[in-house]
Symmetry: C2
Subunit: 88 residues, 2 copies
């Protein structure tokens, strides 16, 4: 890896589905109200992953690999959904 | 709130500082190798928050409010750092 060859990174965002109660997020929203931040009407909490990928991986291969990892390993498909971005 | 007036949302991403060991991320990276995803060389895990803000809030006020909430409530400044985006 040369100095000018930054590794490819994938950012994966996993959140509870809209229909699933987010108790932790509601607790944070309530705390914010008590802490005098009334402008926040709702909070949803999720997980955020930064995956560093091998340099040799082509963009398309990286995309399908990240999708597979996100859907099979990082997300519980019963209650969660994910989005991701690839950064090169 | 009319149908055409979507509430403003802030996306806050909290991650461990680069210098802090991310044991959970390393565990995920090891699991991925065992699960035959060798293209992933590193994983960092963080938290992701979606804050829904009051409609009446101006963009600048929203920005400073989100920065205050992220730095004072959502982030432990000793070991974590945050970034955020505002979406209207």
């Amino acid at each position: 890896m040369s100095l000018y060859n930054f590794p490819m990174k994938a950012h994966v965002y996993v959140t509870l589905k809209r229909t699933v109660l987010d108790a932790q997020g509601q607790t944070i929203a309530n705390s914010l109200r008590r802490l005098h931040h009334p402008a926040v009407t709702d909070v949803r909490q999720g997980k955020y992953f930064v995956l560093t990928l091998e340099d040799s991986l082509a963009h398309d291969a990286a995309k399908s690999e990240v999708e597979r990892i996100a859907s099979e390993v990082l997300t519980n498909p019963v209650i969660e959904e994910f989005t991701y971005t690839l950064e090169n």
